[in-house]
Amino acid sequence: MENRTDKNSYTILFAIGMVLIVGALLAFAASSLKPNIDENKRLEKQQNILYAMGVNENEEGSANFVSTADAPELFAKYIKKQLVIQGDKVTENNEAYLIDVKKEQSSAKAGNERRLPLFVGEKDGKTFYIAPIRGKGLWDAIWAYVAMDKDMVVQGAYFDHKGETPGLGANIKQRFFMDDFIGEHLKSNGKFKGIDVAKGNADPKNIDKTDNEVDAIAGATITGNGVAAMIKSDLKLYVSYFENLK
């Protein structure tokens, strides 16, 4: 007798049943866990923004956020203003940090005016302007929060990525790479120039902070180029705001 599992009708029924069960299981997992996941992402944004302005628990060599439990309180304490820049209009919005940069980028492509979130933080009498930016690495999205002073000199940066190669491109979120940006000028002779991630720039210790260059990571050329490109294209949009500050 033919094996029952070889029958076409059985195969089709099995496939349908499997799809229904697995689909229901995944849908259930996704929807029941969504509130937790969203909350984690919200806290992470606050941690990222605080990290960029130097509110973190860094130990030597490793990058550590403030704890998720403290994040909302510290965020309220250090972030004085949340702004949304849209064209010439600057409005305050206490939920500006929830603006999805990815969605704004695609809506800008569709011809709409992009909403640019900017966070004004104060720590030890210094004012920080923190902007979220987003771009493309080798495999997937990369993004960053860059804290600047009013002259567009970088005061701190936090980089992250979705799927860069561990040990190579993924190292953009390591201290040795992120800390290189601190003190680096985004402008050159009064004009916005960005920061290049350069190979063989004869300045591996990054002593010259006005050369608009940081040292690249070996084996991560495309990720590095992506970092430079997103800094150039996204931070440029904030230039007019900084011009108006003076």
């Binding site: 099995f14 997992a29 561990p166």
Partner: protein, 214 residues
């Protein structure tokens, strides 16, 4: 192995050496190339595969009598993908930091041919307990090679181990670097992983000539 019979024990010990999934069965090479540039990633991947292969083998083994043979590969793929995605979602909800470290590996685990290979070759024809042992054994053998390769690539390529600068600082020129030692950047690129795996295969077969095929 007091707990296991001799035959069951071999399911765990064989894949560690004489039937290693990477060096003998030559499965899972792609992920061995992709993520062994640093030791930490190798360890994370090894643990993840251990978990997925152990459980996946049991699930497939329990289903072995009802899986239609015509679509068995698709069924295996669905089982492993569903498992990995659920674990990923749960981690995202309850251990967000950990999930960020693992997110890169999700795709790599689903497409890892060791997992499909063990489902196909073992779990479809054996009971759950033996399949579990086989899964653990093969994942351990895979992880062992990953960690060896990761160790040498990170040490020689970046001069660090788990992020610690064990050889000194290449920019400040301390430690080994003060006498002219340089990191070998080539070690960080995928081809060197293949060469390191090749060396392991060479060493293994020269010690145990029974493994050499004509």
């Amino acid at each position: 192995m007091g707990l296991l019979s001799k035959k069951d024990g071999k399911l765990i010990t064989d894949p560690l050496a004489d039937n290693n999934p990477i060096t003998i069965q030559v499965l899972g090479i792609c992920s061995a190339l992709a993520i062994t540039a640093e030791l930490k990633a190798s360890i994370v991947m090894a643990v993840s595969v251990l978990f997925v292969l152990g459980i996946g083998n049991v699930v497939i083994s329990l289903m072995r009598n009802i899986i239609p043979s015509k679509i068995r590969i698709i069924v295996q793929l669905v089982v492993v993908a569903a498992l990995v995605i659920i674990v990923d979602q749960v981690l995202k909800a309850f251990a967000y930091e950990l999930s960020k470290t693992l997110s890169v590996f999700v795709g790599l685990i689903i497409t890892n041919c060791i997992i499909m290979g063990r489902f196909e070759a073992f779990a479809l024809g054996n009971g759950p307990w033996r399949s579990f042992l086989d899964g653990i054994g093969n994942a351990a053998g895979y992880g062992l090679i990953l960690i060896i390769v990761g160790f040498f690539r990170e040490l020689l390529g970046s001069g660090t181990l788990l992020g610690f600068k064990v050889l000194g600082d290449p920019i400040e020129k301390t430690g080994l670097y003060s006498i002219g030692y340089e990191n070998n950047g080539f070690m960080l690129l995928s081809p060197m992983a293949l060469i390191v795996v090749g060396i392991i295969i060479w060493v293994q077969r020269s010690r145990n000539t029974a493994l050499i095929e004509d």
